[in-house]
Subunit: 219 residues, 2 copies
């Protein structure tokens, strides 16, 4: 028979992104227990083997616990581990990142939105997790429908242009952005849906099933 080894602590941590006041923000939660009690940190927690079917379900449970909602987009980022990352002992954190549209945020949620440029000092190795999450998000944003998951289900071309710029953190030429997006078959106009008055109403768009599918597969 195989030798039994002492097992590491196993947790999940979640980097939750949203766009607030036109800036890419992280949703941080104040820790309610030691270590680092009272400190802002990534929402996370231990895997509960009696109820979680895998670490993705554990991440969903953590997000639901803090926000009361499901994240429209959730992806496994990387697994961090070692004897020193958590003072409680040798631990593994399966890190996830998720995109939360600002219209799903309410006062009752147990998180604070902080712009990624002005984050406080984070406990554990959460800064490393955040840096890797931002790199992944921005790397993928330029060639995918990812930033659209930060918008409500219906949006204008201007909304979309703005959210890509805010996610990536750089200006994008409006005409060539519009051209690239339309040729990628990521969004489609919603028949007879417009925003604004009678004077130049803006067409409303939604993600195509093609744009939704590859991400759902990854969750």
């Amino acid at each position: 028979m195989e030798q039994t080894y002492q097992q590491p602590l196993v947790m999940v941590d979640t980097a939750l992104f949203t766009i607030l006041d036109e800036r890419l923000c992280l949703l941080l939660a104040r820790r309610r227990e030691p270590p680092f009690e009272g400190v802002l940190a990534l929402p996370g927690g231990f895997v509960h083997i009696e109820e979680d079917l895998d670490t993705t379900m554990a991440a969903r449970r953590v997000i639901r616990g803090k926000l009361g909602i499901d994240a429209p987009y959730l992806e496994q980022l990387f697994t961090f581990s070692g004897p020193a990352r958590d003072p409680r002992g040798w631990s593994i954190s399966v890190a996830y990142y998720a995109l939360i549209p600002a219209d799903l945020l309410t006062q009752s949620q147990a998180v604070e939105a902080v712009p990624v440029e002005t984050l406080p000092t984070l406990p554990f190795d959460h800064r490393q997790i955040v840096d890797q999450a931002i790199e992944r998000l921005r790397g993928k944003a330029t060639y995918s429908s990812l930033p659209a998951f930060l918008l409500p289900a219906e949006f204008t071309m201007n909304d979309l242009h703005r959210i890509y710029q805010q996610t990536i953190g750089t200006r994008l030429d409006q005409a060539s952005f519009r051209h690239k997006i339309l040729e990628q078959d990521i969004i489609e106009p919603i028949p007879d849906r417009f925003r604004g008055g009678a004077h130049r109403p803006a067409q409303l768009y939604r993600l195509t099933s093609r744009a939704l599918t590859p991400f759902e597969r990854k969750i």
Copy 2:
């Protein structure tokens, strides 16, 4: 104080790729303990918190134990988890993939090379790990120096062209391959190093420091 939860079993599994007889192969190991004793599987094992500094070091230890060598290229792939993937209980496997040049393979190593097209039925969720590893390897191969890690440190342009074709599994036009590789600054000619006799000797190349660096960062 925080409630103590029963912790999952924590292991690493490694998908080890090589090119043998011009085909992309996996190195599989026959399991020496139950469950699935005697069955070919991905080399893997429990994390040993007394000696492993993180899961990457655990993967390196597993590879060294089976092959007696370090993998020139090793990357974390994905973390698999759940109550059913291992009969011993709720478990987490941090999966890695690695590239092993065929010239590092010897008879004394405790593995068998099997072409990826003719793999046997694999235990646990190893088939899922393998499929994801092949997808990642082939996806990255087309725009990176990755396949070159399957070659010895010195190689000809023909060697390189062949190994890219075998890794990706499709034919690549030789002239445009040569052009693309040279413009990417991935390889460089080794001064005064050639293979073959006096009649049309072939220039030997090596990876540039630029090609080595981004991968070392990821390990």
